[in-house]
């Protein structure tokens, strides 16, 4: 299309902006602005430093840290992971160094980067969640992601995340004690109605919801008749769970106004865009980081290329862009 074409279509100024100033990849989660919608999923990006030789951390929208608890947790026995078709099961059991060591040993490193820092937390009790949130807010992390959806621990985690009253109480308590950081509630896919739980999070004051955490699963070795994980069951992640996650993001999008962070099997830019069209404002990349440690950067570049190809200026135009009145099926593509 020539310049006249653009002018005719009323797109001249958009075109000028696109090539003159670059496009806008930034999104907002509550009052927090991310330079792009690509975040890392908790537990798949270590404490950030594990990726420093593969990824320019400054390029990421946000880094989400492995679940931190008040006291260090040693995690579950091995084997903790196994592969399943198009995915993997894990039962890490939230091994982490605990709040104190995190603040002392990991935070100073993470603070050096020009990216948003979000810490995923897990408590045994609501009091522990509050204590963790407060301490992290005090040291000015940008956000706190409440892990109320981990399938691999006995207390806290999924128990809280699947009990409506307990969840509402927990979020409001945390909301009251956190002054600066945004509060993200990470939802479990293990509920019959994700809309209800998203709404609970919204009403209780959560700035955003992130979904989904892993789906409880299991695998058996038929030679030895033993479970493939020492913990017997684990959480399923990877491309295998993507359609479930996209559906849940879409449902949540139809139920709440707060931003949704889409998670589950995002391997490339196409997957990320799919989540955004379903209603996600940002996305978290998990298992893909293990397969390709540079996945996050490739996804950012891929989203930018997609927008460019479609003459789009603002990534926010993707959010909830699904045209639900028609369908396009790929079986004949």
């Amino acid at each position: 299309m020539d310049i006249k074409g653009y002018v005719r279509k009323g797109r001249y100024f958009r075109w000028k902006k696109l090539y003159g100033r670059g496009m806008d990849l930034a999104v907002n989660i509550g009052h927090l602005k991310l330079k792009n919608p690509v975040m890392t999923a908790s537990g798949t990006f270590g404490y950030g430093e594990e990726y420093s030789e593969f990824v320019e951390l400054n390029m990421l929208g946000a880094v989400v840290i492995k679940g931190i608890s008040l006291k260090p947790m040693e995690g579950n026995p091995s084997p903790r992971i196994c592969e399943t078709p198009c995915g993997m099961l894990n039962s890490i059991g939230l091994q982490n160094i605990g709040l104190k060591r995190f603040l002392k040993e990991k935070l100073p490193y993470l603070k050096k980067f020009d990216t948003r820092l979000i810490v995923n937390i897990l408590g045994n009790t609501p009091q522990e969640y509050v204590k963790l949130s407060k301490s992290l807010d005090d040291v000015s992390v940008d956000g706190i992601e409440l892990n109320v959806s981990c399938p691999n621990v006995k207390k806290g985690g999924i128990i809280l995340g699947t009990n409506k009253k307990a969840l509402a109480r927990l979020i409001s308590k945390i909301r009251q004690s956190v002054k600066k950081a945004i509060v993200i509630t990470k939802l479990s896919p293990n509920v019959s109605n994700i809309q209800e739980f998203s709404k609970i999070a919204e009403d209780a004051g959560s700035d955003a919801v992130s979904l989904i955490n892993t789906i409880p699963g299991m695998a058996i070795d038929i030679e030895t008749w033993k479970p493939k994980l020492a913990n017997i069951t684990g959480g399923l992640s990877g491309p295998a769970i993507k359609p479930i996650a996209v559906r849940m993001v879409w449902e949540a999008h139809n139920a709440v106004k707060i931003p949704i962070i889409g998670i589950g099997g995002i391997m490339n830019a196409e997957d990320a865009i799919e989540f955004m069209l379903a209603g996600a404002t940002a996305i978290e990349v998990g298992t893909a980081n293990f397969v390709n440690p540079k996945a996050t950067i490739e996804i950012i570049n891929g989203i930018e290329a997609y927008l460019k190809k479609r003459d789009m200026l603002d990534v926010k135009e993707l959010i909830g862009g699904l045209n639900a009145t028609e369908s396009h099926n790929n079986l004949n593509d």
């Binding site: 990006f45 593969f54 091995s78 992971i81 592969e83 198009c86 995915g87 993997m88």
Partner: protein
């Protein structure tokens, strides 16, 4: 220079019905591997299997970086069909390899089965000084015999069925060897790689004989570079990552 690189398959030779020798040529500047380190190798180009597979660094030749592997599951079954010229993604070298030799000790290298891949990477470090005990099920599963002979004056081969070398396991051979060493004049330092039960048995023998040493462990891995915490092994200092603090650990440290 990056650890995450593309490489071309130069060769993928069957050594017998179950084992292959893979040679790859990096298409970028890469980091030099240390003995005992490993690489995560992409085995397919779909999401099933999804994860890369860890393989011990075996050696470097004009053919490129080489790996020895046994076909045992979905991933390695796909690898055996790797054709010359194919481009794959690789992450490595990864992990902490064997520590540098200590003065005053004679290195005693013990390999069981495909564990020879990792042990072999160490032989060159020790030149002719090392003693090597190498066991496998049968003579078809003994690899790089000539190369080993050239690298050490003291090599004891054993096979379970006696088809090559001594009949018995490498553990029997190690026990014999240590009883024959009546004088305590030589102080040995063990380096072992092989199946987990073998390593456990060797650690026990080492403790009983007051010998120190190192073992190279295997565990399921998702990332290979310390991020997922999936490859934990129980040590006297808590869980450690086989892919990061390991795969080589000092024997005394492991809780079997």
């Amino acid at each position: 220079m990056s650890r995450y690189f593309k490489a071309k398959i130069i060769n993928n030779l069957p050594l017998n019905s179950k084992n292959h020798l893979l040679s790859i040529e990096p298409l970028e500047q890469v980091i030099n591997p240390e003995p005992g380190q490993f690489y995560m190798i992409e085995v397919g180009n779909s999401y099933d299997p999804l994860l890369k597979r860890p393989f011990s660094y075996f050696r470097k030749t004009e053919e490129g970086i080489q790996f020895l592997y046994t076909i045992k599951g979905k991933g390695t079954s796909l690898m055996k069909d790797f054709k010359q010229g194919r481009i794959i993604n690789i992450n490595g070298p990864l992990g902490t390899g064997y520590p540098k030799p200590e003065k005053g000790y004679t290195p005693l290298l013990v390999a069981g089965g495909i564990g020879i891949a990792s042990i072999f990477s160490l032989t060159e470090t020790f030149a002719k000084k090392a003693l090597i005990l190498y066991g496998a099920r049968n003579k078809d599963e003994i690899f790089v015999l000539n190369e080993l002979k050239a690298l050490t004056d003291e090599l004891i081969i054993s096979t379970d069925d006696g088809s090559l070398g001594e009949k018995g396991t490498v553990i029997d051979v190690l026990n014999d060897f240590l009883t024959r060493q009546s004088s305590l004049a030589t102080r040995h330092l063990l380096y072992a790689c092989g199946p987990k039960p073998m390593l456990e048995a060797i650690s026990k023998i080492a403790t009983d004989n007051g010998i120190k040493g190192y073992v190279s462990l295997e565990e399921n891995m998702a990332c290979g570079f310390g991020a997922c915490l999936g490859c934990a092994v129980k040590t006297i200092n808590g869980y450690k990552r086989v892919c990061k603090e390991g795969p080589v650990f000092s024997m005394e440290e492991i809780i079997w």
